[in-house]
Each structure stands twice: as C-alpha cells, then as structure tokens.
C-alpha cells in the first residue's frame, strides 16, 4: 500500500512536469520543468534504492543531482549571454 501511494504520487508529479516540458511556451519554461523533473528523479532514485535494498542507488542519486545542477547553470548562462 505504502509503495503504491508513493509511486503513484511521484509518477503524477513526473507526468505534470513532462506535460509542461512539452507544452511550455518559452525556453525558460522548459528549463524550469527540466530542473523540477531532475529533483523529482533524484528522490525517486533514493526511493527505488529503498525498495530494491541496493545501496548503490544512493551514489547514483548523488552524481545525478550534481550533473543536473551543472547542466542547469550551463543552460542559464547560454540563455543570458549566448555562445560566448
């Protein structure tokens, strides 16, 4: 029961973010949706590690959070200054 509630709510959040990622009228909308999606995915990875009892998933979540942070910074810099 607990797993069903958690997975359905996380899946609902992911579906909402992906809808905004498809529909988004401007580019910063899509970047914001992608950033939200990355945070949701990080907590989903930790939760999957708890369900499968694998410790490795925590390392994966840490590296994923770091890489998406760098990606968001790079895309924001590109939006502001262009390719310089």
């Amino acid at each position: 029961m607990f797993e069903i509630i958690c997975f359905s709510l996380i899946g609902l959040g992911i579906v909402f973010s992906v809808l905004r990622l498809i529909r988004g009228s401007t580019t910063p909308d899509r970047v914001v949706a992608l950033d939200t999606l990355s945070t949701i995915t990080t907590s989903l990875l930790v939760f999957l590690g708890f369900i499968f009892k694998r410790y490795v998933y925590l390392d994966v979540a840490l590296v994923y959070a770091l890489l998406t942070f760098i990606g968001a910074i790079v895309v924001a810099r590109f939006l502001e200054k262009g390719l310089k």
Binding site: C6, L9, I14, P28, T42, G49, L58, F69, L79
Partner: protein, 105 residues
C-alpha cells in the same frame, strides 16, 4: 521509527506531486520557478530523510544528498530566473508590481 519514516516519506511525496502540479498550472515563468523550487526542495528533503530514517545504516549518506540538494537547488533556480529576466521573458498580465524597472536605465 518505521512509522515516522513512512509518514515523512508520504509527506514529501505529496509535496513532490504538488510541485509538479504548480509547474503545470501556474501562469508565468517566475511563478513556476517558485513552485518548482520550494515544493520540490521540501519534498526531496522529506522523502530522502524518510528513507534514511527507515534504513538507519543509510542515514549519513542520505543526509549528504539532502544537504547537497539544499545548497544547489535555490542557486540553480535563481540563476534560471535571472537569465529569463535578462533575456526578456514577459511577466504575466496579473502582475501587480515589478521592482526591476527601477534599476533599468
């Protein structure tokens, strides 16, 4: 301890879902930034700490992930908001006050 971890995880998962709903429903980039930052930071905090409470050997590593998210998520969203303001994304029609006009020459 198990019950506390489960309650914290469900609380955090509800906030993750509400963050996604705010991303979908709010009218503007800046409002969406607010939903995407606050809701998902609190939701990720509660979910990951809840998992760390349910599995006590994992607690320090989950604390590391949570502190990293706490440090980086507001920074990246602030940078995205500043970039979208500087690249000229218009505000919503219902916006009441825009204080950045005072600083433009």
């Amino acid at each position: 301890m198990e019950i506390l971890g489960m309650a914290l995880t469900i609380f955090g998962v509800i906030f993750l879902c509400l963050g996604g709903l705010g991303i979908l429903r709010l009218p503007d980039v800046y409002n969406r930034l607010q939903a995407g930052t606050k809701c998902t930071t609190l939701g990720a905090f509660c979910t990951i700490i809840g998992v760390g409470i349910m599995e006590p050997q994992w607690f320090w590593k989950t604390l590391l992930i949570v502190s990293f998210i706490f440090l980086t998520n507001p920074i990246s969203n602030h940078v995205i908001g500043r970039a979208s303001k500087n690249s000229g994304v218009p505000l919503c029609d219902k916006t009441v006050i825009d204080k950045t006009k005072d600083f433009e020459k």
